[in-house]
């Protein structure tokens, strides 16, 4: 048997060994103590769960606590007796804290439970053997107390080159392993053979320091007798050669990579005590209930090694070793280099207690006062991890945690060699422990704040969803009120429909809310994904991508559901489909208006945000479209009182619609991707493909829809054309929007401009076509009520829309280029045009409203809505003008006066419109008052709206002042104004809140 090659590791120290004292006496066996205290957490990982109850009688070796999770262990009764209590007791831990312990009172019978050895360990599966070891409570007895079965399982990750048995025992004073090897040499070798069978390593080496000649001789003799292939590597005595990493370096010349485990480089280390207990567990079925412990120190008259039952209180052992209480100054569990002091001797022996050092003052004198570090570098020469302790001390003291980490603070094994050699008596290890703890705390705090952020975002999303739900409910209430009001005018079957509709409506709403929630989730996920991509966390990226995909799928599903939700209502008799659709349109309107309000609010808070402005404009357009649709549907309902059920065909239409929705979702997604990565040809192609799909789907839908419409016979084929025209309009407008968006991103692109102009033209054409078609059915449907005049009306409307679009565009340009006087002139011109067009429209509307009177309150409503929109536009104009004014003030421009005039004019107009709106509302409400209390509602709504406007105005004022103040922070008058304005804003907002609350309470 040749002895293997020995390498060396950097640093290390040679403290006085002091091992002789405890080897003078043979192995002692203390008597049973009065009680045994068995902490539930004797190992690394989860504390065990008690299996017994207080008062129960247990036999020796009976399991009294079971593992609690994967990284946990069993606990057994060290002797027979009664469970006296399960309570908190002081335990052997550096913190000096208490922990839950099982208290066992021995009955002195020492009666074994029935033990079941695992005799066929060579034939049963290794997993079974590991499970058996786990049940026997075997953990690493070297110091950390890592559950052995877990460690062995981890060893299978890589093929093992070395199975190292750690018998170095480098700490001064401790001789427990030395004594164990001498006493149980054969058991140790057999235990190693069992473990070798489990792990199948290429080399099995016992690493032992050369200060244990008796143990080495005993080992070599047994190995020779058994002709075993186990090698004994005798390493020179140097602290800390018994450190796992250092022993690996000594025996294999390999280093465990920082932050990894020995198993990662194909090495497994086991302590000798563990090997012996594995043997005893498998051979005799004996669980881990006792261990070898060194009792030493000058305060003991009879220092010795003892085989002691777990849970034996230390004071019992000290008494056994004849302690001289007067001499004792420091009681250390473990060795003098890495052990920890005990407050009192009433803590129990646990599975990892290898030494109890009862030292006198002379033996372990109190440390000298700390002196200045002179960077002598002795610590560096002693450090077994090749660190620069002197630099780490510097960084620890100055709390430069990043630098400390950079200097590999976390590779410090806290062996204490640096403190030992420090001529200035600096407690270096304590500094490092503290800094490590601080860094860990900081990391945990960072994780916590991340979680808090996530929670906050989830809360926000939830609140948004709740708000949407509330809004939907409110609308549902209103919707329910309206059909009721119309009830007498309608035939009986309608009533049933009205009752049936809300059911379907509810489902739709729920789906919609779900959709909103899911969408919020998606947004959050996408944000996280983006962050991860920025920080290049590869693992997170893939995980997040998966989540995003899943959520997107959910959204698509939900959208389909939302689209399909009203479908069941369609199969119901008595004109359900139409009214259903109307409801949906109404919900759309409500949602759009909510969105608009929200966006406007955001805009008021952040008036410079161009993105928000665009959004507001977009939503306003959506809202208009939705309103129009709703109006039309409402009109249809009235116009087609045929009320016969729509044919099966309608179902197909629904399907087509779902397709449209899906296609549009896909398209949107692709466009979004494209926006993120504009050069990606693949995505572009995809977008085009989706666009085509969408178009197809839309066409199909339009066809089906028109067919469905044609079925009731009220509408001729012409309607088909109408639909087509509408689709064209929509397409053209979409295209236009896209191009305009591109144009804003790249304003100098002449090609894009040309395109935009083209699209505008086509849009106009399509709109004109639509208008002409629109009038036709109107003529047919209500031949008497609406004459050709309606045509003029529509045209005027188109004019208004066009003028307003142009105006918006110009204003946008103006915002980008404020000094351009030409543009300003144009804006004014267009504003005039718009006003003209609006006036024309109003004039046209007036006669429409007059004859409609009682029969068509809808028209009135229409006018009111228009008025409202006008008011909103005027308000926007006011805001814009105010903004321009603010900017002008900021820039010190000369047109300040003219701008101020504009503002006042715009304000005046806004107020006028507001007034008109109110009047109109009252006018409309008057006839309604007769049969419902809706007028109250409307009036209230009006007040609410006004209050909202007032709040927004106050806010705008505050913002304006703030901005001015920013520009000129010393102006006291501004500050006063600001505080006044803020107060006003608060008042307004308080009022608004009150109103909102009242409204919600209704």
């Amino acid at each position: 048997m040749q002895s293997p090659q020995i390498f060396s590791f950097h640093g290390g120290i040679h403290p006085p060994e002091n091992k002789v004292q405890s080897l003078q006496l043979p192995l002692g066996k203390p008597s049973l103590p009065r009680e045994l205290v068995l902490p539930l957490g004797q190992h690394i990982g989860q504390a065990s769960r008690p299996l017994v109850e207080v008062g129960a009688h247990v036999k020796k070796g009976q399991a009294i606590a079971i593992n609690n999770g994967f990284l946990s262990s069993f606990l057994h009764a060290p002797t027979s007796g009664t469970i006296q209590a399960i309570e908190s007791r002081p335990v052997a831990h550096p913190s000096g804290l208490s922990d839950i312990c099982i208290i066992l009172t021995p009955d002195n019978a020492d009666e074994w439970t029935e033990l079941e050895p695992l005799n066929d360990w060579q034939s049963v599966s290794k997993t079974d053997v590991l499970a058996f070891l786990a049940e026997k409570g075997i953990i690493g007895m070297g110091g950390a107390g890592f559950p052995t079965h877990v460690k062995l399982q981890g060893a299978h990750k890589h093929p093992l080159t070395h199975f190292i048995i750690n018998a170095a025992e480098c700490e001064p004073y401790i001789t427990a392993d030395d004594m164990l090897i001498r006493e149980k040499t054969l058991e140790l070798i057999l235990g190693i053979e069992i473990l070798q069978h489990l792990v199948e390593a290429d080399n099995v080496v016992i690493g032992i320091e050369d200060n244990k000649p008796t143990a080495i001789a005993a080992l070599q003799q047994v190995i020779r007798e058994r002709q075993s292939s186990i090698q004994v590597a005798v390493v020179p005595t140097k602290y800390p050669s018994g450190g796992e990493k250092q022993l690996i370096k000594l025996l294999t010349d390999k280093e465990v990579p920082s932050g990894q485990y020995p198993a990662d480089i194909g090495i497994l280390c086991q302590n000798v005590g563990t090997c012996v207990s594995v043997y005893e567990a498998i051979q005799f079925g004996r669980p881990l209930i006792s261990r070898f412990t060194t009792l030493t120190g000058d305060a003991l008259k009879a220092p010795q090694n003892v085989e002691v039952l777990l849970g034996t209180p230390i004071d019992h052992l000290l008494d056994y070793a004849d302690i001289e209480d007067k001499k004792l100054s420091r009681l250390v569990m473990g060795g003098p280099m890495m052990g920890f002091t005990l407050d009192s001797a009433n803590v129990p022996v646990v599975k990892t207690t290898n030494c109890v050092l009862a030292a006198t003052k002379k033996e372990l004198p109190p440390p000298n006062p700390e002196q200045a570090c002179i960077r002598c570098g002795m610590c560096e020469q002693a450090c077994p991890a090749s660190l620069l302790p002197q630099q780490l001390l510097w960084f620890s003291k100055s709390q430069e945690h990043e630098k400390a980490e950079h200097y590999n603070l976390f590779d410090c094994i806290e062996c204490g060699a640096c403190s030992y050699v420090c001529p200035s008596s600096i407690p270096l290890v304590q500094y490092y422990r503290h800094t490590k703890a601080e860094i860990r705390d900081a990391r945990e705090a960072a994780v916590k704040s991340d979680i808090a952020k996530q929670r906050f975002e989830a809360r926000k999303a939830r609140h948004e969803a709740e708000a949407a739900e509330k809004e939907a409910k409110r609308l549902a209430r209103q919707g329910a009120a309206k059909p009721a009001a119309k009830k007498p005018a309608k035939p009986a079957p309608e009533k049933a429909a009205a009752a049936a509709a809300p059911v379907a409506d509810d489902a739709a709403k729920k789906a919609k809310v779900d959709l909103a929630i899911t969408k919020a989730k998606l947004k959050k996920l996408e944000k996280a994904l983006l962050e991860a991509q920025e920080k290049e966390h590869t693992e997170e990226i893939s995980a997040l991508q998966l989540q995003v995909d899943a959520v997107k799928k959910d959204i698509a599903d939900l959208e389909a559901k939302v689209a399909a939700a009203p479908a069941p209502a369609a199969s119901k008799p008595a004109a359900p489909a139409l009214s259903d659709e109307a409801k949906k349109a109404k919900v759309d309107v409500a949602l759009a208006s909510t969105k608009l309000k929200k966006a406007q609010k955001q805009l008021a808070e952040d008036p410079d945000n161009q993105e928000l402005k665009d959004k507001v404009a977009g939503i306003a357009a959506d809202l208009k479209a939705a309103e129009e649709k709703f109006d039309k549907l409402g009109g249809n309902t009235k116009a087609a009182p045929a009320a016969t059920a729509k044919p099966v065909l309608s179902d197909e239409a629904k399907k087509a619609k779902v397709d449209v929705a899906l296609a549009s979702t896909k398209l949107k997604k692709a466009q979004k991707q494209l926006a993120e990565d504009p050069d990606n040809a693949e995505i572009k192609a995809k977008v085009e493909g989706f666009e085509k799909d969408l178009k197809e789907a839309e066409t199909r839908f339009a066809k089906l829809d028109s067919a469905a419409a044609a079925a009731p016979a009220a509408k001729p084929a012409m309607s088909d054309e109408y639909k087509k025209a509408k689709v064209d309009v929509a397409l053209a407008s979409t295209k236009l929007k896209k191009v305009q968006k591109q144009l804003t991103e790249d304003p100098d692109n002449a090609e894009l401009k040309a395109k935009a102009a083209d699209f505008e033209k086509s849009l106009k054409e399509a709109e004109a076509r639509l208008a002409s078609l629109d009038t036709a059915p109107a003529d047919q449907a209500t031949p008497a009520a609406k004459p050709a005049m309606s045509d003029a009306y529509k045209k005027a409307k188109v004019d208004v829309a066009l003028a307003s679009t142009k105006l918006k565009k110009l204003q946008k340009q103006l915002a980008e280029d404020e000094q351009n006087s030409e543009l300003q002139g144009k804006v004014v011109e267009f504003e005039k045009n718009l006003k003209d067009a609006e006036a024309r429209l109003a004039a046209l509307e007036a006669p429409t409203a007059a004859p409609a009177d009682n029969a068509a309150p809808a028209v009135d409503e229409d006018a009111l809505r228009k008025l409202k929109i006008d008011a909103a536009i005027a308000k926007a104009a006011v805001k814009k003008a105010e903004k321009a004014l603010a900017k002008a003030v900021e820039l010190g421009s000369e047109d300040q006066d003219s701008l101020e005039q504009q503002v006042s004019k715009a304000k005046a107009r806004a107020e006028e419109l507001e007034q008109a709106l109110q009047n109109g509302g009252q006018v409309i409400n008057k006839p309604a008052e007769a049969n419902s209390n809706g007028s109250d509602d409307a009036e209230f709504k009006e007040r609410l709206k006004k209050q909202k406007v007032a709040a927004a105005l106050a806010k705008a004022q505050v913002n304006k002042l703030k901005r001015q103040l920013d520009a000129d922070p010393s102006a006291e008058s501004l500050q006063q104004e600001l505080s006044a304005a803020e107060q006003k804003q608060q008042e307004e907002e308080a009022k608004l809140e009150q109103l909102t609350n009242t409204q919600e309470n209704r």
Binding site: V256, R330, P336, F340, H406, P423
Partner: protein, 352 residues
């Protein structure tokens, strides 16, 4: 039973405290001190007394001003070590006020003002030395000559040394002559061989005096290495680089350059290598860093001796490398256990 509760480790190396380290370094200068006194008279010893008293007084004064425990810090012997090193480096005949100035400046400005022991970026003794060298160049370059070469024909007696130091000896010039380095520097275009043949300061007697002094410091330095108070890295790197660069120029131009042996055995080569450059506080801290640091000093010493304005360059060489030490430290971290390569540079958190 009030048990002590402190964290590990519970045992410490007995006796080897900072004061012990300082004492050992002071003791290691004894061979050099004895040889210097033997060859150049009692001036060094008298300077040592003056320097020691000044150092302790100024340290105590500043500690009092800083409200620090005076006894605790005086007992660390660091001020005394600074005084000893300065006394050895100053010429034996310098007036007493110059020694006082140099030592007081070292202790007060180069050390205590920065926060006391462990916080000074520059070697205190060399700061004091450099200040005096710049301020009083003539006094600082007057050195006693070998006895059989000078007018007086013997080393100055104790009385003469005292008289010279306290400014009452008019004939101090009769004892002094240029040091070999000074003489070689001012050979005024002579060939090396001519200079060694004709200039008084370059006579064998003078050269061997300096060689004995340097050898004595070498002995003391080796003792420090044996005691593990210093590591071999700095002195070996410094002497090796000095030998290498002087050897290189000697091979290129033997007629004008001096031999490596001349450079290694004259001036403060050994004192600098083992006692000055190894000051742990102001030098590099990792072993690799010490190599770079020492090599830098060796090169600077040769550069200053050969092309600079002063005959010897240890003080300036050490001070210049003190400037560079923190930077060198950043780039010479050792490879820690379990890491494939050493971390380097100023950026934090590059490798995780």
């Amino acid at each position: 039973m009030a048990l002590l509760r402190i964290t590990s480790p519970h045992t410490h190396r007995a006796g080897q405290r900072t004061s012990w380290v300082m004492q050992m370094v002071i003791l290691a200068t004894v061979p050099g001190l004895l040889v210097q006194t033997w060859l150049f008279g009692y001036g060094t010893l008298i300077n040592l007394v003056i320097a020691g008293i000044t150092a302790l007084l100024s340290e105590a004064l500043i500690l009092k001003l800083r409200n620090r425990p005076i006894g605790f810090f005086l007992k660390d012997y660091s001020a005394l070590l600074t005084a000893v090193l300065l006394a050895l480096a100053l010429p034996p005949t310098v007036p007493w006020w110059l020694t006082v100035t140099a030592v007081a400046f070292s202790v007060i400005f180069a050390k205590q003002v920065y926060g006391g022991l462990g916080n000074n970026p520059f070697n205190p003794a060399m700061v004091g030395y450099a200040i005096c060298l710049v301020s009083f160049p003539v006094l600082m370059t007057q050195w006693i000559g070998a006895s059989d070469l000078i007018q007086a024909g013997a080393t100055p007696s104790f009385a003469d040394s005292l008289a010279a130091i306290f400014g009452t000896l008019p004939s101090v010039d009769s004892y002094t002559m240029a040091t070999p380095l000074d003489a070689f520097k001012h050979k005024e275009g002579m060939m090396s061989s001519e200079a060694f043949a004709s200039i008084a300061g370059l006579q064998d007697a003078n050269l061997s005096s300096w060689m004995f002094v340097n050898l004595a410091y070498l002995v003391g330095g080796l003792a420090l290495i044996a005691l593990r108070i210093i590591t071999w890295h700095t002195p070996v790197a410094m002497l090796a680089s000095l030998a290498l660069i002087s050897g290189l120029f000697y091979i290129i131009d033997p007629s004008n350059a001096a031999s490596p042996v001349f450079h290694l055995t004259s001036g403060a080569a050994m004192l600098g290598a083992f006692f000055i450059a190894t000051d742990p506080v102001s030098s590099c801290t990792s072993n690799r860093g010490k190599l770079v640091y020492g090599a830098g000093i060796g090169i600077l010493v040769y550069v200053i001796r050969t092309w600079g304005g002063y005959p010897d360059g240890v003080a300036f060489g050490v001070l210049l490398m003190n400037f560079a030490a923190p930077l060198i430290d950043y780039y010479t971290q050792p490879r820690a256990y379990g890491h494939k390569k050493a971390k380097k540079g100023l950026t934090i958190g590059g490798e995780k």
